[in-house]
Amino acid sequence: MSRVLRGVRAFVMFWIDFIIGDDWTVAATVAIALLGTWGLTHAGVVAWWLLPLAVLAVTAVSLRRAVGREVREDSQSQPSLR
């Protein structure tokens, strides 16, 4: 792979990691909440509450999933009883 291609790949991967991170559902929820806020605002509805509410909800859901994943990984890494 040429140096330019490697640079482009590293650049793209950096932004994917920056935006999506380890849970793509968070970025997707934020995108949907932004679209919803835009839609409501342009329809003349007061929509300042939507984005913070979506942020709090997706944080809790994502943490719940992350805890389950961590505990599963911890239990698998423990030596099995013989």
């Binding site: 920056f18 995108a31 007061v46 300042w48 942020v55 944080t59 239990s75 009883l81």
Partner: protein, 251 residues
């Protein structure tokens, strides 16, 4: 005019300094300062090229893009901060290196820290420039407006520089949680502004949002600990059921 420009730009400068200091302490000072310098250079070029026409730069899409990016990145830090503090407590990461050093950019130049500071400084700097031009043009005193804004940058920058030692005493995981909450706050506010949202209380909504996110994060610490102990009990039960009992082993 001088005082008016000082106070009008002070809030934007506080936001700028908070991001640069927060990213510097939590990730990398080098990346944060290089990012801030690059943001100032881009801003200086823009202002030099456009002059008073900088007023016509559309801030709305810039706020939306920068806000959305800060929001998704701030949320990643907030979640990681809550998970780690819930797992290991507040004290870890104070002197010993954190287990996830990839987050702090210890593997070379920290481009994430660079981008965060660059975006914060270029967006807030652009807003300062617009305020200066608007105030200066309205009162036909651009010179005084520039001096007032420059004084705000110097005074608040110096305060940020003096307080960083205090901030650096906070353990890294706690810092990750609070800086994550701060970036999420700015991200929510700017993205909302970019979408045309009228925040109740204007800029004061920043304080309310920050308080809500910090309180929610502290509440989630307890909830996450509860979820973890529940999940550990659930995974331990099938393991102990599958393991041979001592009485059966004697048979």
């Amino acid at each position: 005019m001088l005082l008016a420009a000082f106070f009008a730009t002070a809030i934007e400068v506080i936001e700028m300094v908070a991001i640069v200091v927060g990213v510097g302490v939590a990730r990398s000072w080098r990346a944060s300062l290089v990012g801030a310098s690059a943001g100032l250079v881009v801003l200086a070029v823009l202002v030099a090229a456009l002059g008073t026409a900088v007023r016509n730069v559309p801030l709305t899409p810039v706020r939306l893009i920068v806000g959305a990016l800060l929001l998704v990145f701030g949320l990643q830090w907030l979640r990681k901060g809550v998970l780690r503090v819930a797992h290991d407590g507040w004290g870890v990461g104070h002197t010993a290196p954190d287990f996830d050093s990839a987050d702090s950019g210890e593997r070379g130049f920290d481009w994430t820290g660079f981008v965060l500071s660059f975006k914060g400084v270029s967006l807030e700097g652009l807003e300062v420039a617009v305020i200066v031009v608007a105030f200066g043009a309205a009162a036909a005193a651009v010179g005084s407006a520039v001096v007032g804004a420059a004084a705000a940058v110097i005074v608040l920058g110096a305060i940020g520089g003096l307080t960083y030692r205090l901030i650096a005493r906070i353990p890294r995981r706690a810092l990750q949680l609070f800086v994550g909450a701060m970036l999420t706050t700015f991200g929510t506010f700017w993205a909302g502004e970019g979408l045309g949202v009228a925040w109740p209380g204007g800029q004061l909504a920043l304080l309310a949002l920050g308080a809500v996110y910090v309180v929610a994060a502290l509440g989630l610490l307890t909830v996450v600990r509860h979820w973890r102990s529940d999940a550990e009990q659930r995974t331990a039960r099938p393991r102990s059921a599958a393991a041979p009992s001592p009485s059966r082993m004697h048979r």
